[in-house]
């Protein structure tokens, strides 16, 4: 084995008394891909940032980070700058915020070239074009003067990769580079990274929480939890024969189980016909409507009692908008019948008595709970609106019951949301919806902000509650694995329209439309799929 390119020895990173990582050690050989896997808070991103010393000044490093034999922990700032972006470069998770919105693509890539290579004007432009071409941006010459907001998420991430590769680094650190992207785009970016890596012979440190991606891209993998590397080894052996309990727990954490059987004779309680949510595009001095962004465009659906309708699609497909429109949280056109009531014609006030029966659980458990209210205020709020006749102690009883139903101790009601973990917060959000004893619940990506092991627990919880109460769900998600564990019926959406609709089991077994096939391939195949032209630039909103 050749000498390692990067060798981390006993690295401990501490913020005050709080150690983010504890004595971690691993090596990366030239040309090798090492994946660092762990759930949020495991210290994997901190480790990645520490290699280039991008941590805030409050972080204290001890140990060694040897890059080509040089210890980056002790090296001077000037020397470090020569390494950054030149020998080691980095791609970040969020392509929107890691590109500067006020500079063009050309000047952002050009900056890296100017700093490390001294390339200016025409030479820099030529190299930029080469790079954009290499990362698969179509018609790069016309994109040079674009600003980041004019590109789609996948294209932005490609530009980030082009910047990172500008100086042909020996090591590329990729910090969750695909997490913010849709599955099909994810697959393309992974393919691109893999092929570029082979062509340039660089090593890669790949940070991710997604074991599926690890299988696709990495040679070796280090599993991190609580700031320690608990297991490491070649991908094939580790996946085939995990040694540590945590690794086994992670591998077993994928949502499992099948949806409860539905009764095909049950009456439908939600009927939606020709639902449209169009946002007008206004231009000019008089703000005339020149067109519409069709977020939801002519959707028909019906859900039977006790059934789960899965709605899948990539970001921007209109699936969340559809959920909001069915609950009349946003204005829409078309017929919506909920539990036998025509709701479209009702005023906001007249909707109120129906709201107890139709509830929603949101995606982000950090954003959907008011940080200034205690848990019993949060859960009790709906009760005070819909059942004002309850006495304080009756209300308290119901709050306690709702908490118990979602598996939280009654004492939790005196605490505030920030004292809970993401999974617990989502349980509180579910309790808030369930305390009103609704008949229909829209679940808007309730698991996608959570770690995988927590995801499975929340899916189990939702299924339990559904069986116990005979609830009807509309489950909106981009994650096909989760949908498969819950949905009886399935709708596949793209650009506001339904692409495919039918029994979930049938669609998962034999998808009909090409788009559904690609989605399934990206979600379930462990192999890197061939890139297809599936990254259409969304119509740019003026």
């Amino acid at each position: 084995m050749t000498a390692p390119l990067l060798s981390i020895r006993d690295l401990t990173i501490a913020f005050g008394t709080n150690e983010a990582t504890r004595r971690i050690s691993f090596d990366i050989a030239p040309g090798e891909t090492v994946a660092l896997v762990g759930e949020s808070g495991s210290g994997k991103s901190v480790t990645a940032l520490s290699v280039l010393k991008l941590l805030p000044p409050s972080a204290k490093l001890s140990g060694q980070i040897l890059f080509k034999g040089k210890d980056l922990v002790t090296v001077a700032q000037a020397e470090l700058r020569a390494v950054r972006g030149n020998d080691i470069s980095m791609i970040f998770q969020e392509p929107m915020s890691s590109l500067n919105p006020v500079h063009t693509i050309e000047s952002q890539i050009g900056e890296v070239l100017a700093i490390h290579r001294g390339l200016r004007a025409t030479a820099a432009r030529k190299r930029t074009l080469e790079l954009l071409d290499a990362v698969g941006i179509p018609d790069p010459a016309s994109r040079l003067s674009s600003y980041p907001h004019q590109l789609s998420g996948g294209q932005r991430q490609r530009v980030m990769i082009a910047m990172a590769l500008a100086n042909e680094p020996d090591l590329l650190i990729a910090d969750e580079p695909t997490t913010a992207l849709d599955v099909t785009v994810q697959a393309q970016i992974l393919t691109l990274l893999k092929s570029l890596q082979q062509r340039l012979g660089m090593a890669m440190l790949f940070i991710t929480h997604d074991l599926g991606i690890v299988k696709k891209i990495a040679d070796r993998v280090c599993v991190m939890t609580n700031g320690e590397i608990v297991e490491s080894g070649p991908v094939a052996t580790l996946f085939a024969n995990p040694q540590h309990a945590y690794t086994r727990h992670l591998l077993a954490a994928e949502p499992r189980g099948t949806p409860p059987l539905s009764d095909p004779t049950a009456p439908s309680i939600i009927d939606v016909a020709d639902l449209k949510v169009w946002f007008p595009i206004r231009r000019g001095l008089l703000r005339r409507t020149v067109g519409h962004i069709k977020a939801v465009d002519g959707v028909d659906l019906s859900i039977r009692r006790g059934e789960t309708l899965g709605v899948v699609g990539e970001s921007g497909s209109g699936k969340s908008t559809l959920g909001y429109a069915v609950l009349r949280l946003i204005p829409s056109d078309g017929r919506i019948v909920v539990l036998g009531n025509e709701v479209q014609s009702r005023s906001w006030k007249a909707m109120r008595p129906l709201r107890a029966d139709m509830q929603i659980v949101f995606q982000d458990p950090y954003g959907s709970l008011s940080p200034r209210l205690s848990v019993d205020q949060i859960i009790g709020e709906g009760l005070s609106v819909h059942m004002p006749q309850l006495t304080a102690s009756e209300r308290d009883d119901r709050v306690v019951k709702a908490l118990e139903e979602v598996g939280l101790p009654p004492a939790a009601r005196f605490r505030y949301p920030h004292e809970f973990s993401g999974g617990q917060r989502q349980r509180i959000a579910i309790a808030r919806a369930m305390v009103l004893e609704p008949k229909f619940v829209v679940l808007d990506e309730p698991t996608s902000a959570l770690d995988v092991s927590i995801q499975a627990q929340v899916v189990d919880l939702l299924r339990d509650i559904q069986q116990r109460r005979g609830l009807t769900y509309m489950f909106i998600s981009h994650d096909l694995k989760v949908v498969r564990a819950l949905a009886n019926q399935l709708i596949v959406m793209r650009n506001g329209r339904i692409v495919e609709q039918g029994e979930a089991a049938a669609i998962f077994a034999a998808p009909q439309s090409d788009y559904t096939k690609t989605l399934m391939a990206a979600a379930f195949n462990t192999e890197v799929i061939a890139p297809q032209n599936l990254d259409p630039a969304r119509p740019v909103t003026p």
Binding site: F362, G367, G382
Partner: protein, 380 residues
């Protein structure tokens, strides 16, 4: 893993609703700013002391006993008949009344025996008199019938910071003036904050046309030159405390609208607002319960600065002579006297230092409040 750690930490006792961990951290941050913390205490002591100005500087005793009857002249206006005179209002500083009370009982006087409008009849010379410590004991009492041996020649009748050009004691006017300035500032701040928060909340929450129209109205409104309008209005209506408050309120309520509107605009798209709407919670409740706490941070941060601004506005109107009615104790009037009597520098200096110290304290408090609510600091 964090899931388990969180569950282990569940505690049984209900928490204090006000001292949430967030508020505790803010309080700790406020205390950490020593300058602001001490400024708050100094200001509170000064303010509470001046609230009791009647017990510090008054031209009548606090408590007196006359012919076996306990009297409270500081609170009750007793006619002079009670003491054998014939005026409707008793002048306790009068020798006749003083002797009468002394002969038939006793009296407890405040440390300074002048109130803000008492004119001292025994000044050593006419015009603005210098502070008593600049003159000898004899000079201070030169005009008393028995000069230095006069029973009235004592510290209670001295003018520690001199008098203004009408023979009124500066310390007394300062105490009452400080009080009225702060009370005026506080009232103006609170009322204009309430109006501003409500207006900003409505604009931000409903957005759209409401916001558009309201914003334009405010733009036009703020472009009216307020000072000139104030001068015109106060030359038509005889200004008193409440009229001035009303006039200044017309223009000061817009101060907070912008930030509150911005907070509501931002906040109305939060998911927990959507969650509350999905629960069927009414708009008023959402605004008050869910959104207002977000806007309160910005509001509370601005309040000390609005308070100091209000005090300055009142002072400048008084300085120009368009403020509180003539004879009222006011810091602006003291400054105007200082300007008109350059031969008596204690007037201008006293006014200047009082206002400078008050403003400094308020700004220091404001800084500390701002630091306490700074989300970046509170996370550290």
């Amino acid at each position: 893993m964090s899931e388990m750690a969180g569950q282990a930490a569940v505690i049984e006792a209900p928490r204090n609703r006000f001292l949430t961990p967030l508020n505790q951290r803010r309080l700790a941050n406020f205390r950490k700013n020593r300058r602001g913390y001490w400024s708050l205490w100094i200001f509170l002591v000064l303010f509470l002391a001046t609230l009791g100005s009647e017990f510090i500087a008054n031209d009548r005793p606090i408590i007196a006993s006359y012919k076996g009857e306990l009297l409270f002249p500081a609170f009750v206006d007793y006619p002079e008949e009670k003491f054998g005179g014939f005026f409707a209002i008793t002048n306790y500083r009068d020798d006749f009344i003083a002797d009468e009370i002394k002969a038939n009982g006793w009296a407890i006087w405040p440390p300074i025996r002048f109130n803000y409008q008492t004119v001292d009849g025994f000044l050593p010379y006419s015009g603005a008199v210098a502070p008593s410590w600049l003159m000898s004991f004899e000079d201070n009492c030169a005009r008393y019938p028995l000069q230095a041996a006069d029973p009235n020649c004592h510290w209670g009748n001295f003018h520690w910071l001199g008098t203004d050009d009408r023979g009124r004691d500066v310390v007394a006017r300062l105490l009452y003036g400080f009080r009225i300035s702060v009370l005026f500032g506080l009232t103006l701040t609170i009322i204009s904050s309430v109006i501003g928060v409500v207006a900003g909340a409505v604009q931000g929450y409903f957005g759209g046309w409401v916001d558009l129209v309201f914003q334009r109205v405010i733009e036009i409104w703020t472009s009216i030159p307020a000072l000139y309008l104030l001068l015109i209005i106060s030359s038509v209506i005889a200004p008193n405390f409440w009229v001035l408050l009303g006039i200044l309120l017309l223009f000061s309520w817009v101060a907070l609208v912008g930030i509150v509107r911005a907070e509501f605009l931002r906040g109305r798209n939060f998911e927990y607002i959507a969650a509350a709407r999905a629960l069927g919670v009414s708009n008023a409740t959402i605004m008050f319960r869910h959104l207002l706490p977000n806007a309160m941070v910005a509001t509370l941060t601005f309040m000390p600065f609005i308070l100091s601004g209000s005090v300055v506005t009142l002072t400048s109107l008084d300085l120009l002579g368009f403020g509180l009615p003539p004879g009222s104790p006011s810091l602006g009037e003291l400054l105007a006297q200082g300007k008109n009597n350059l031969q008596a520098p204690w007037l201008g200096l006293t006014g200047f230092f009082t206002i400078a110290i008050m403003m400094t304290l308020l700004v220091f408090i404001g800084e500390a409040v701002r630091d306490a609510f700074d989300p970046r600091k509170s996370m550290a």
